[in-house]
Every structure is written in structure tokens, then in C-alpha cells.
């Protein structure tokens, strides 16, 4: 699962994205932060192409509001040694921190940031792994971490496709829980099955691609995708969720 730019631009003939890009996620986070008065925003990114993608998108989104990051820092990929970065961020005294990295690094960073006495709100993108981040954080530090999501809220049964997913999970015996990742997998599988059905009784690679590209504006039940021969970025759905309380519950 990825919202990376290299999978979208230029359009890859064999790649169909059913999730919004990291750029769109970051844009939504910055828009939210600015709307509620957070103008001192620090940006922390991991040192790889994903991080650079995030950095570019963050700078662009901030520039849209005439802002620059209070601090721009990098962390090693999958690092559990974020003390120095957290120290620098705490010294910069931002209102909020946008961190683009995986859950182990983000959890470690939040712990170190709080240890430094900073109460800046921490936001991240869906790549972080919402449930994994919640599990990796100590219970006392879970409250208030924001994560952008690219699928509907998995507990909101008012969305038909979510209700369908919940019914399937409830009827299964594997003890699965509702979650963002499993819902994303469910949506991907649903689209693939529908495309295979559309491709005919003997689906071949070209037929499947044609079926996907001819889907147009397709409603999966409260989650819309749009594919065409020129557009393989099927969704721009982004929603924010926050971890609240010590139990790791999400609100949206």
C-alpha cells in the first residue's frame, strides 16, 4: 500500500491506485492545522524517497498558506534513536509536528518529544500504520495523535461498504478487528473482483486493464473510485482520524 508519487506520475499502465496520494494526505493535514490556528509547524521526514516525497509535499502545502516549516529535520528509516531530533524539535517550540515515517520511528519520536516537555500536536500520514502506531505507543502518550486516512472510518457503519466489511468480519471466525488497513485490503479486493467479472469468463492481463480503465466513476458503497485510460489514481478520499484516550480508540 503506497501513495508515493512514483506510482502515479507519470501514469503507470500496470498500476491502479485506489488510495489518495501522500501529497493529498499532507495537504489535508496542513489545511486542518492552519484552519485551527497552528502556524508553527515542524516537519520531520525519514531519509528515503518516501521522506523526500513527504518533504516536497509539506513545503508545497505550507507555501500555499505563506508558511515555512518552523524546523525541517530528518530521521533514519525505522530508527529508534530519535532523541536528538526530538530535542531539536522541542527547542523550536512548534504548535504541531508533521512526521513522515513508519510507526516504530514515530512512536519513538513522540516518546522523546514528550520527554523533552513539548506538548505539540503530532500528525502523520496513513503510511505510519494507525493500529501499529497505537500499539507501539505507551498508553499515556496515545491521546491526540492525528493520522490522515485514505479509506472511510472502519467503525462507521453508516457507510454501506464499511457495513459490508463489518458484516464479513463479524461472520468470520479468525478474530479479526475492524481497521483501516483491512478495510483498504477489502476495497482493493472488491475492485479487483468486480474488474475480473467485467473482464469476462477468460480474463487476461489486457482484458483486466481494460475492465479497470472502463470503470469510470464507480461507487463501491460510500467510497468512489474513478479510473480511465489516462487516470490510474482512482481516489482522492482523505479523512483525518485521531487517537484518543489511553485505550487507542480512534475518532473521525
Amino acid at each position: 500500500m503506497s501513495g508515493a508519487r512514483l506510482l502515479r506520475e507519470p501514469t503507470q499502465p500496470m498500476v491502479f491506485n485506489i488510495r489518495a496520494s501522500y501529497e493529498q494526505e499532507i495537504d489535508r493535514i496542513i489545511r486542518y492545522l492552519v484552519r485551527y490556528g497552528h502556524s508553527d509547524i515542524a516537519v520531520v521526514v525519514q531519509q528515503d524517497s518516501f521522506g523526500r516525497d513527504g518533504q516536497r509535499a509539506s513545503l508545497r502545502a505550507l507555501a500555499r498558506y505563506g508558511l515555512k516549516p518552523t524546523l525541517l529535520a530528518t530521521v533514519q528509516r525505522n530508527s529508534r534513536h530519535t532523541e536528538a531530533v526530538a530535542h531539536r524539535v522541542a527547542l523550536a517550540q512548534p504548535d504541531a509536528v508533521l512526521i513522515i515515517s513508519a510507526y516504530t520511528t514515530v512512536a519513538n519520536f513522540i516518546e522523546n518529544l514528550r520527554r523533552q516537555g513539548s506538548d505539540a500536536g503530532v500528525m502523520s500520514v496513513s503510511f505510519v500504520g494507525s493500529r501499529s502506531l497505537s500499539d507501539a505507543l505507551p498508553a499515556s502518550l496515545r491521546n491526540g495523535t492525528g493520522i490522515s486516512q485514505v479509506v472511510p472510518f472502519p467503525w462507521n457503519a453508516r457507510v454501506p461498504v464499511v457495513k459490508e466489511n463489518q458484516n464479513i468480519i463479524r461472520s468470520s471466525t479468525g478474530g479479526s478487528r475492524y481497521g483501516f488497513s483491512s478495510l483498504e485490503g477489502f476495497l482493493a479486493a472488491k475492485i479487483l473482483v468486480q474488474a475480473l467479472e467485467k473482464a469476462g469468463p477468460q480474463p487476461i492481463r489486457a482484458g483486466l486493464i481494460r475492465a479497470l480503465e472502463s470503470m469510470g466513476n464507480h461507487d463501491l458503497g460510500g467510497f468512489r473510485i474513478h479510473f480511465s485510460p489516462n487516470n490510474h489514481a482512482g481516489s482522492d478520499f482523505v479523512q483525518l482520524a485521531f487517537l484518543m484516550g489511553s485505550s487507542g480508540a480512534f475518532i473521525h
Binding site: 484552519r35 472502519p154 485521531f242 484518543m244 485505550s247 480512534f250 473521525h252
Partner: protein
């Protein structure tokens, strides 16, 4: 929480200590005055004196029990209102809804973490007050306004009034909760209870001049006499003794994915 319980436990031990001391003093005075023969006191008077002590403490106790029930209802009401407020904002657009819910949950979390501790001493928490102010500011701003649509649903049509009502209910519930957190009984009332108990103990020892009888009477007095006072203390400090626990109630709200 264990610290809270320890504080309540110490108070109960102190209560027993004071009553034991009063019983002991009454016994000493009875023995001292009995050195030259016990005065002829009427045993029948013991019953009205005991009744007076029991009725007075029972009356006080029933009052504080009623107040604690009110407090418990108020806390339940507060939690229900938090849930309702969280649900009613579902008509707001994404960014407004998430901010509203974040502020609601932040407020709930600060009650569970901060105010549940400060309420042991009957105090509100500064952090909780700040969170409540932020919530009020939000609902007083245009951020809490639902966009006008052509199709009103039953949910969206009543939104502004419902949100405003729930917010005021939340503020009222907090005020009520804080005002009932410690029901400080006046010192004079505690003194009156002790004096009544002392008189009862004194009379009991004078009615039973033999040492064996006094030992039994003393034991029964120490065991039973402080109980109404301990119950009075417990019900007038419901958070300190763990009679009401606000955190588990609020944790139920905070564990819900909304």
C-alpha cells in the same frame, strides 16, 4: 487511585483511633469516679441516649447518601451528554467534525486523568477548565456551524439547538460534580457526634460497674460506635474513599471508536 484509597483508608483508621480514645477516656473517668462506689444511674436512660446518637447520625447519613446519589446521577448524565455531543456533530463537514470530537474527547480525557485526582480534595483541574473553555470557544465559533443544504434530515435540522443544549448540560454537570465532590460537614457537627458518643460511652460504663461488663461494653462501643461516623466520612468524601470512581466511567467513552 491507590493513593486516593490510601488517603480514605487512613481517615477511617484515624476515625477508629479517635473513637477508641474517647471510649478509653470514658472508661477511665468511669473507673475513677467508681473508686468510691459507682453512682446509682438509671440503666433505662441508656436506651434514649443510644437512640438519640443513632437517630442523629442516621439522619445526617441519609442526607449525604442522597447527595452522593445525586452526584452519581450527575456523572452518568455528564458521560451521556459527552456521547450525545460527540454524536450530534456528525452533521458537520469533515474538518469541523474531527476538531469538535477531538475537543470533546480531550475534555473527557482531562477529567479522567486530571480532575478525577483533584476532585479528591474538592478541587477542579486547571487543565480540564482550559479544555472546557476550548470546547465552548469552538461551539461559539463559525467552525461549529453546519453548512446549509437543500435537504434537511431530522439529524441536521435540530443540530444547532441540540449542540448548544448539550454543551450547557455539560457545563452544568461539571459544576454540580465539583460542588458535590466533597461534602464538608461542619466541625461543630463532628464535635457534637463525638460528645454524644462520649456521653453514651460514659453512661454505658456507669451502668456496668463490674470490670468484665465494662470490658464487653467497651469492646461493643469501639466496634459499633464509629461506624456511623465512618459512613458519614465516606459518603461525604465519595471520591477519596473510592465510593465513586469517575475514571472507569469515562474510560468507557474514551474506548469507543467514534
Amino acid at each position: 487511585m491507590s493513593m486516593i484509597r490510601t488517603g480514605g483508608g487512613l481517615a477511617i483508621i484515624a476515625c477508629y483511633g479517635v473513637f477508641s480514645f474517647v471510649t478509653f477516656v470514658a472508661l477511665l473517668i468511669a473507673r475513677f469516679s467508681g473508686r468510691h462506689g459507682y453512682p446509682q444511674v438509671a440503666g433505662q436512660l441508656l436506651s434514649p441516649l443510644g437512640s438519640l446518637y443513632s437517630l442523629t447520625t442516621a439522619f445526617l447519613l441519609s442526607n449525604v447518601i442522597v447527595l452522593v446519589s445525586t452526584l452519581r446521577t450527575s456523572i452518568t448524565q455528564e458521560v451521556v451528554t459527552l456521547n450525545k455531543l460527540g454524536a450530534v456533530v456528525s452533521v458537520l463537514p469533515d474538518e469541523q467534525r474531527i476538531e469538535a470530537r477531538r475537543l470533546i474527547y480531550d475534555y473527557a480525557e482531562s477529567i479522567a486523568v486530571d480532575e478525577s485526582v483533584s476532585m479528591v480534595n474538592g478541587q477542579g483541574s486547571e487543565r480540564t477548565q482550559t479544555r472546557l473553555n476550548q470546547l465552548r470557544d469552538f461551539f461559539a465559533s463559525t467552525n461549529a456551524t453546519a453548512p446549509k443544504t437543500d435537504r434537511d434530515t431530522p439529524e441536521s435540522s435540530g443540530y444547532p439547538r441540540k449542540a448548544s443544549d448539550f454543551l450547557f448540560d455539560l457545563i452544568d454537570s461539571r459544576e454540580k460534580r465539583l460542588s458535590l465532590a466533597v461534602l464538608n460537614l461542619p466541625t461543630s457537627l463532628w464535635a457534637a457526634i463525638l460528645i454524644m458518643f462520649f456521653a453514651l460511652a460514659q453512661w454505658t460504663f456507669l451502668v456496668h460497674p463490674d470490670r468484665r461488663g465494662q470490658r464487653w461494653a467497651g469492646m461493643i462501643l469501639i466496634l459499633s460506635g464509629p461506624i456511623p461516623a465512618i459512613l458519614l466520612y465516606a459518603y461525604s468524601h465519595p471520591f477519596a474513599v473510592g465510593l465513586i470512581q469517575i475514571r472507569p466511567t469515562l474510560d468507557n467513552v474514551l474506548q469507543r471508536n467514534l
